[in-house]
């Protein structure tokens, strides 16, 4: 299921690449070297809009800054006895929303010694599938009716939204998700580049503090 959704999303990305006047190789290189769809979409869109090189790199870097805290949070769940440290740096390249959200939910059920292998197989499979889908989307661009392409591009954020609904059961995550969802679009209007980072820091810190206060209150209540 995650593979199908991601495949469809990269299909949409492939056609976006072609419409923006980039080559198939550039589209595939972005899937290989970046492999984070929101950053890739920002790259393609800003390129098509004729933005400066600096503006493009800054926008991509800030859109993808979320990968830093995401990678931090994944590490304890990925810890596998006997796996060399450098492998975690290789594995980090395969941290993206789909692979991360599914791994965060499923890795605790995987036996400890198989965790790295499980992640490599899962994320690696998604990674390979996304190339095929990028190429197919590029080839199909223009052949598919416009509403279908739009639906494919829309599939990605809606899929992410549904995955995170599952996490609303957890108090700290729910606080962070709701506050972030409200602040994200607001701060994006203030500053399209730095808005997302500010959202993470402000909403994340607020959620953390609220959760901390809640813990203390509940702790005192049961005292």
């Amino acid at each position: 299921m995650p593979g199908l959704v991601l495949g469809a999303s990269f299909l949409g990305f492939g056609s976006l690449v072609r419409e923006s006047g980039l080559s198939l190789w550039q589209g595939l290189a972005s899937s290989l070297g970046m492999w984070a769809l929101p950053g890739q979409v920002a790259f393609v869109e800003l390129y098509a809009a004729g933005a400066s090189a600096f503006a493009i790199v800054l926008a991509v870097a800030l859109t993808n800054a979320r990968l830093m805290p995401m990678t931090v949070v994944l590490q304890p769940r990925l810890r596998t006895p006997g796996v060399a440290a450098w492998r975690y740096y290789v594995a980090a390249h395969f941290v993206a929303v789909t692979s991360w959200a599914n791994s965060m939910q499923r890795l605790p059920e995987v036996p400890e010694r198989h965790r790295m292998a499980w992640f490599a197989a899962f994320a690696g499979g998604l990674f390979l599938g996304s190339f095929a889908a990028t190429a197919a989307g590029y080839a199909l661009a223009g052949l598919v009716p416009k509403p279908v392409t739009l639906a494919l591009v829309f599939l990605n954020p809606v899929y992410f939204m549904l995955i995170f609904i599952t996490d609303l059961k957890h108090r700290a995550k729910a606080l962070a998700l709701v506050t972030g969802a409200v602040l994200g679009p607001l701060l994006h209007q203030v500053d399209a580049d730095w808005g997302l980072l500010a959202t993470g820091l402000i909403a994340g810190t607020a959620a953390f503090l609220a959760d901390l206060a809640w813990r203390r209150y509940a702790g005192a209540g049961h005292g």
Binding site: A29, M68, M70, Y89, V95, L212
Partner: protein, 109 residues
């Protein structure tokens, strides 16, 4: 930006900037106690950024989706969430509902 070499250079820099976040994540994780408050705070920041990004992608998309009006995008997102919850968290049902609503509303039904 016009010549092809420039695009490749920008693409390479964008990829390096992306990996920087991931690599630093592994580096920092070695220094943070997974049971401690710092770790919980980083987790909250991660989820807040993800939710902010997803909300922005739905409400204020860049690219072709920007041509679709806000009411259509919101209706499709609400339909996807509602059907997902009503179908006891069936992803396929939720996504099909969201895509269906978007498709039909674009077609003008």
């Amino acid at each position: 930006m016009a010549e092809a070499g420039g695009v490749w250079a920008v693409l390479l820099l964008a990829c390096l900037a992306t990996y920087l976040s991931r690599g630093l994540g592994v580096l920092f994780a070695e220094r943070i106690d997974p049971e401690g408050p710092t770790f919980r705070w980083v987790g909250c920041v991660a989820y807040a950024m993800l939710a902010g990004l997803v909300a922005r992608m739905i409400l204020m998309p860049i690219g072709p989706l920007a041509q679709v009006d806000l009411a259509t995008r919101s209706s499709a997102a609400v339909a996807a969430a509602a059907i997902y919850l009503l179908s006891r968290r069936n992803l396929l049902a939720g996504l099909a509902a969201g895509m269906g609503v978007l498709f039909l509303m674009i077609r003008g039904l």
